[in-house]
Symmetry: C2
Subunit: 446 residues, 2 copies
Amino acid sequence: MTDAHVWPASAAVGADGAMRVAGADLRALAAEHGTPAYVLDEADLRSRARAWREAWNDAFGTADVYYAGKAFLSVAVARWVHDEGLRIDTATGGELAVALRAGVPGEAIGLHGNNKSDAELVAARDAGVGRVVIDSMAEIDRVAAVAADGWGGDPGRRAPVMVRVTTGVHAGGHEYIATAHEDQKFGLSVAGGQALAALEAVLDRPELELLGIHSHIGSQILDPAGFTLAARTVLALRSQLAALTGVLVEEVDLGGGFGVAYLPGEVPLDPVRIAKDVAATVADACAELGTPQPRISIEPGRSIVGPSTLTLYTVGTVKPVTLDDSTVRTYVSVDGGMSDNLRPALYGARYHAALVSRTSDAAPVRARVVGKHCESGDIVVHDVDLPGDVAAGDLLAVPVTGAYGRSMASNYNLVPRPPVVAVADGVWRVLVRRETIDDLLALDQG
Amino acid sequence: MTDAHVWPASAAVGADGAMRVAGADLRALAAEHGTPAYVLDEADLRSRARAWREAWNDAFGTADVYYAGKAFLSVAVARWVHDEGLRIDTATGGELAVALRAGVPGEAIGLHGNNKSDAELVAARDAGVGRVVIDSMAEIDRVAAVAADGWGGDPGRRAPVMVRVTTGVHAGGHEYIATAHEDQKFGLSVAGGQALAALEAVLDRPELELLGIHSHIGSQILDPAGFTLAARTVLALRSQLAALTGVLVEEVDLGGGFGVAYLPGEVPLDPVRIAKDVAATVADACAELGTPQPRISIEPGRSIVGPSTLTLYTVGTVKPVTLDDSTVRTYVSVDGGMSDNLRPALYGARYHAALVSRTSDAAPVRARVVGKHCESGDIVVHDVDLPGDVAAGDLLAVPVTGAYGRSMASNYNLVPRPPVVAVADGVWRVLVRRETIDDLLALDQG
């Protein structure tokens, strides 16, 4: 492969030009399951989960890695990442239900959210989740009320909580920015004093057990500096809390947002490198502060499931469009679009694509891969070179669609959502089946 | 109401501060159906459908109005707009299936799409849809092949088609821009000659009946000038085709994109005003060209269903956040978000919100209404004044969510999608039921 970073580890192109994933020919997979389909390389996903766990455990001696289920969660995926020694981070009752359905013990599950419902807090209590991440002052009372008679069926157990704080570090892509205050819905401000106040309020509540402090700085981050800067702020807050209350909290969670490569030539954040950078910072900062090091946890999602998956499409219409500068852009329409991958329309996200059903010697053309929705912004890949003979019936693969692909999918234009098909050792199986028109009509009461 | 344009026509606030829609108290509706919920005023929707039909029939003597199902389509809505004398514009097999399920005759349905599948074309043929809008050169052969043995069960009938052209007029919001060529996936260029070539190619095919020419210039348009400019271009093309082939096509479709008011103070495009403007332009242009006037059709969607519907939310967390300029923004979290209204995140769309469950004398605060999803961009209303005592348990209504609300909804964070509840004469009924976690798990194969 020309760029190993963007394709699942097992992806390989045969002499016939057809791509195999884990030994399975994508032409055969498409023939059996139809297109569009998300194709997930199970071994690749497991290997990335292990890589994050091992790198952070190696760097810190011990660390907890929570798989961020919002990126993509199905029963099988929850089981696999738990098999690989990870815990599961959930953000709603739905994500919690899937993790529990997978047999993940409540203790290994965390619950996030800026606006958890009472029903969600009760479900978390009944499952005995290992931590609830408190996001506002009001939530302290609400969690305490839910935990009044214990936690996880144990009347003597307190609700295990962390407090999510905002450090003023925002990161995304290649750079980070730092401000004092953050204009966003999540967390409690360190600079404004709300974070410290919340930590003290938690310590005052007999129904709550304060595990530690949580910080999440952004998404798709490629620059390690944001993580180390946020870590220093959180460690200083931990030290400040200890000085004021005598309680040195045990854990610091640095959240997720570890970036991946979406395009050939991009370099993902390496789990070993970022773990070492953060470990060095934590050691330095704790030495300066004169406090023992905390237990560290992180929440990677995209960096585990994103590159494990590609979306397989069939080409329909091919249309050369002459632009005002007299150049030609070839619009290649596929049988999906913004309903199965919202990120290009939502974030202007850029993707790669390749012809994966045959060889071609045709000279490349400048192509834009578009979907079938009634919207001119329905773009799958903004700019990619494709063989000039790309034609109806060809299969295209768009890599790195495992995160926020199926999880953000819609039925826009009443298009049923594609299946997620996992491949391992040449054998495929359906994790999430394809929707049907009948599924959509089942909700319609006429 | 302070601004009639943004609320359903029947919305009224009682002395108790609670909003009624079609006589139904939203507190009672929320108690029975839960929140979030889309609440649709049936009479308002029907009245807007009638207004568009009557205005355009009055201005032109006769005209066809197609309801653009992509905005929101359910079986009941399809039936209602057809009852009101409209036809239905569909863009996929799913939308076609819902229109047919509603009992709308195929003859009153159109099929759009830049990348129709063979299955969709076959479904359109079998249903005898009244028109297929051809979007590319390649589609001419494909539609002809599907129609080789007739249309709608009649072996002697040709496939009724229009050709979608790009006029170089792009419009959206208050302004329009005009270019020679368009860098988008839809249609065939007038300036580049592809539109004329496609029209001639259709005339050459014995399986196809050329009904006319189709133009669609954009979305949420408030400036009539884009429509009249595009109409002139299409009429000139029609005249040019007649001069070359002797065939003067009967119909011109000017598409949709008629803008609505989302915020207090905004003024929607008035159906009577735009119909008169376009009628005057068509009369002028045809007089200049020396051709009889065509039959005109249009495709409003948002302007019929958008303002008919509001989304009802329950407030959860309320959090004051101090910004870097020392002002405070109050983040009001509700129990939905980008999963039920994607437009703020996708387009930066601005909405209004109001407390609808009680009165309040509290001084207003600058609020941002946010959802419960794990994403800082999960914003429902960017900026709105809400009473300073807004608190957990309050009901908020966000108006004008009928178009591209439920139709673009997702299960992000595994949040089940809200129901669509229609109200008429004080009685509510569920058009689309609320999803459940079990619905989501039914697709998960474990």
